[in-house]
Symmetry: C3
Subunit: 456 residues, 3 copies
Amino acid sequence: DGTNAAGDLSDGLNTFFLLFSGALVFLMQAGFAMLCAGSVRQKNVKNIMLKNLLDACGGAIGFYTIGYAFAYADNASDSKTFIGNKNFLLLSFDGSGGEWIGWFFQFAFAATAATIVAGTVAERCKMQAYLCYSVFLTGFVYPVVVHSIWSGDGWITAFRDDPWQGVGVVDFAGSGVVHMTGGATALVAAIILGPRKGRFYDEDGNPLETPVSFPAHSVALQILGTFILWFGWFGFNPGSALAIDNSVSAETAALCAVTTTLAAACGCVTSMFTDTMIEKSATGEVSYDLTAAMNGALGGLVAITAGCSVVTPWAACIIGIIGGWVYLGFSKFLIKMKIDDAVDAIPVHFANGMWGVLAVGFFADPDLMAIAGYNDFPGVFYGGSGELLLCNFVSIVWICAWVFFLMTPFFVILNVMGMFRVDPLEEEVGLDISHHRGPGYDMAGAKKEDVEELME
Amino acid sequence: DGTNAAGDLSDGLNTFFLLFSGALVFLMQAGFAMLCAGSVRQKNVKNIMLKNLLDACGGAIGFYTIGYAFAYADNASDSKTFIGNKNFLLLSFDGSGGEWIGWFFQFAFAATAATIVAGTVAERCKMQAYLCYSVFLTGFVYPVVVHSIWSGDGWITAFRDDPWQGVGVVDFAGSGVVHMTGGATALVAAIILGPRKGRFYDEDGNPLETPVSFPAHSVALQILGTFILWFGWFGFNPGSALAIDNSVSAETAALCAVTTTLAAACGCVTSMFTDTMIEKSATGEVSYDLTAAMNGALGGLVAITAGCSVVTPWAACIIGIIGGWVYLGFSKFLIKMKIDDAVDAIPVHFANGMWGVLAVGFFADPDLMAIAGYNDFPGVFYGGSGELLLCNFVSIVWICAWVFFLMTPFFVILNVMGMFRVDPLEEEVGLDISHHRGPGYDMAGAKKEDVEELME
Amino acid sequence: DGTNAAGDLSDGLNTFFLLFSGALVFLMQAGFAMLCAGSVRQKNVKNIMLKNLLDACGGAIGFYTIGYAFAYADNASDSKTFIGNKNFLLLSFDGSGGEWIGWFFQFAFAATAATIVAGTVAERCKMQAYLCYSVFLTGFVYPVVVHSIWSGDGWITAFRDDPWQGVGVVDFAGSGVVHMTGGATALVAAIILGPRKGRFYDEDGNPLETPVSFPAHSVALQILGTFILWFGWFGFNPGSALAIDNSVSAETAALCAVTTTLAAACGCVTSMFTDTMIEKSATGEVSYDLTAAMNGALGGLVAITAGCSVVTPWAACIIGIIGGWVYLGFSKFLIKMKIDDAVDAIPVHFANGMWGVLAVGFFADPDLMAIAGYNDFPGVFYGGSGELLLCNFVSIVWICAWVFFLMTPFFVILNVMGMFRVDPLEEEVGLDISHHRGPGYDMAGAKKEDVEELME
């Protein structure tokens, strides 16, 4: 009868929705690969792309074997837990309740967290180190963060009857859970790994007066990657509604599409024009920088990820505008600190991840909170007395502490054992020739004498 | 109960459908970026891609602030209006009735209209001019066209009880509304801006005997762009059914997927082989031209866009075949007129947009018209007495008149003020170095001495 | 009322699901184009991409006119038939029952089968030959295979009341039907066409001691293609559930997403590390090969395609691991046999297609078989007595025999008539200059003197 059919239709519709969303999030791997490949020098393009591909694969294997179990296993007693502990290898899945598709969707997020790091440490990180940390990240570090915020058993989650402070952490699609976790790992790695040769120091180790910018080898790949990432975000954010079989979820997902678009657009425009003005005041020349534009868009996307379902379009614009500034400012701060991020992933993902999580505490609309399935606590700008801001602030501290606490000794040990950074000569030659059997391009065309012979 | 659940499911399903479709249309921005980037010379690749990225952003901001209000606001009195006038900044949206997702879907179309122009004026148009006209286009020019044809208040719309001529304009997914509007703007811009240096005239301004073709810098990017655009069209055309919660809409969307595929395929094959025959008769050599093939496919896609839901598959094939010829013919006509279109966007979007709108007047099947939600007026080939052809012809005249009337003085003024065209030396050097801080590629590989040292 | 609405919703949901899935499969054309383009030498990049584009077009036209009729037309009498014989040009479609969208989805598969061949014969195959065989393949060879296995009238299909051996062939998404058919054609073509000049033999026709590897011209395009293909597979495999309006289909589609992901990941990792170990034992150097990684992933994807809906996640991992080895082994076998496959499509699609079909006979879980709509026969590892393995083995023999029987004389005749292989000088110069009016790239930047003038 009609009711049964509707239940069946619900299952189908929600499964399809997560298949669509997960596939788009998966495609972000291609976006990261193109963005990173375009951003590095030609001699390291194979290396970075192989890392991006292995991320997806390692993420799948790590999240299948242990990651999902650590992240999502709920206990029966309804008490809070630090980490899940069943469903390893998905062995107790029976296919009901959207289990398969839930894993697929969450795997795509885990792979995203891992791949964020790849760009930052590009051009100098050993393959072995990369494999070690990406498995560690997707298999353990990231799942514990997920468990705390997105699982019903988590200690600061919003998804239980008695959330901390009455509301819990509101990080809808993961500005903190995904982007800060990846970005904080990238920050630790960049500090311990040190800058690329010739970026901040000369051959003798003396600091350069002006840092050397290494030009991106292909801006076409960068822009392609940016567009693919933006496209993928329409799975990342609306998909985090997790269901679309009812009017309320539909409204949530639809709002996410709008706020995601506006934050990206405002971040892009703000970052580019601010950069133009800064450069003009320094050099007197008007110029428009692609890197500022595209990373501004990505910064806006990261920043709106936490609040995409609980803020209005105008608030999304403000979040995006500030996101553009956060990107620019943090990027310059890293250079000042001589921390070398080959693709500016730390300003985009870590800094804007923090900003996005905080922004919820200011801009959350209580009506939209209720529609998105949270308790209807208002942000500070809507008269809230700060419980939400506190929760979200604590989640920032928690993610930073957890990542720094685990990853710092991890990378230090790798470094001490000589497993982290490639040999200086290999770095000079580039990783493609030294580790991957030859350069990534061979643009040699037809031989001139053959062409002449043909023309005769 | 079952009925309620079905209502909820409808909301969810339709929202999801427009999220999917809008996301695919958004990805067309990447398609245009790759197609345009591949088509221009290496020295202008950053410039064109930045324009494509800013299109998406400017389109979002323009359509959010004013464009959507101008395009879609219906008045309560049911009278015809020239332009909408409420819902600025989406302030009166309450999220019901698919409002959020409707905006998202329509924004993606607006951004498409703007980006069509970018390619035509590539390699010589100032950034400032581009920003001005793209905001003007998405914020005002395009929304008025949309209002007239797709809003229930429009003066020639099909979507009211008493449409003009009993049927109104049938432009299902926008061969006219989107592609002609963008293409007509491109035509005006190309005429006023003038050809690129060295294309039709020598250094002294004397016409060349044979126009110089500037080679595309990367055919790989062109083909990638073409495929992404074709893929995006499966959102553009089927998505224009706007709903998929019932058998009739489902049939409409499904038919659109079939006709879209066939028109593209026929356009591609026709254009390429016709070009091969023309060249063979001129030079005696058999060769196959990628540009003819890919623009033939795109021409077929533009041509089927108006009628995709109301013509049969065989008619779609004919529309595509003629679309291939329309592309080739108009492309040669522009060269004869010394109008320089850097990516052939005018033949693809303007000429085939016109052909597509006209074709509906000939090929519309009355049964399919009824299924697609129009009055069941037949095209001329189905015994129609021409009301539909008249309506659609009038829409062509209207779009051309409106665009030419507004954009001609707009571009003339920009030109007179020296804000339209870059300096000749900047054009010679290329816009990447002169406006964007350096070339788009750095293909330098490892240093030879380092490689030798490593090999030892 | 509720029941009617649910019926309508089912139509809409299933149509949408196949629109989504078909569009993703269509995008695989872009994936193949990028993968192939990246894999060939720079002088043949236009040629291979034009072939990929024409595949999509020829596939559409061939499958519209005759292919779909041959593949799917059911007779009324319920007897087995060798080939379908109605619905040419889709003329008797009335749009009900998902006919339009069914054609769209199946067309995308047919185009995939054809495009598999393009890469193998790249860099030396004439355009005319390519056009002939791709129409022959999509219009006749492939549809007959489809009819035998996926149509209810087929002689070894699982989809009738009395399937052969009580179960029929289980090839859920087409490891055999699509990938083996394309791959077997590629094998025949490669043998008859012979290797590229300088690959296995010197100028005088004497075999070289070590085969010469021609370097891929752009590894960035290869990886982009790989990611797009993997993304497209989320339409290919889950979409083959064909419906998603009920819990059972939803579970099937969701499981497919999981198994597809895991097989790809395991194939990639296995292939790359095995290759690393082999090379290390030969050269003493540790290196990581992108080609091994990406083709391992693709091999895993092909291998899981037959059984994605009927095997558990752990079985998918094993299928992927073995898929990685099958790829590596068959690739080396082809080199030993001096059969030249420019993109390794034969090991990926033919060899892993066979492995995938066979694997179902071992790993099919009877419960999952029932859920996916098959008779609940178990694979050998689940206590089956081999009926399923026999059926699937027979389908391998049948596909090989049919393809070899038809394509061998076809290619031999083309070859004898001089229509198959390009002239040696044209091959040396590359097909872009000799057949497509010039090279695929023009990376020349700004003139040095102009830049200097600007800088003054």
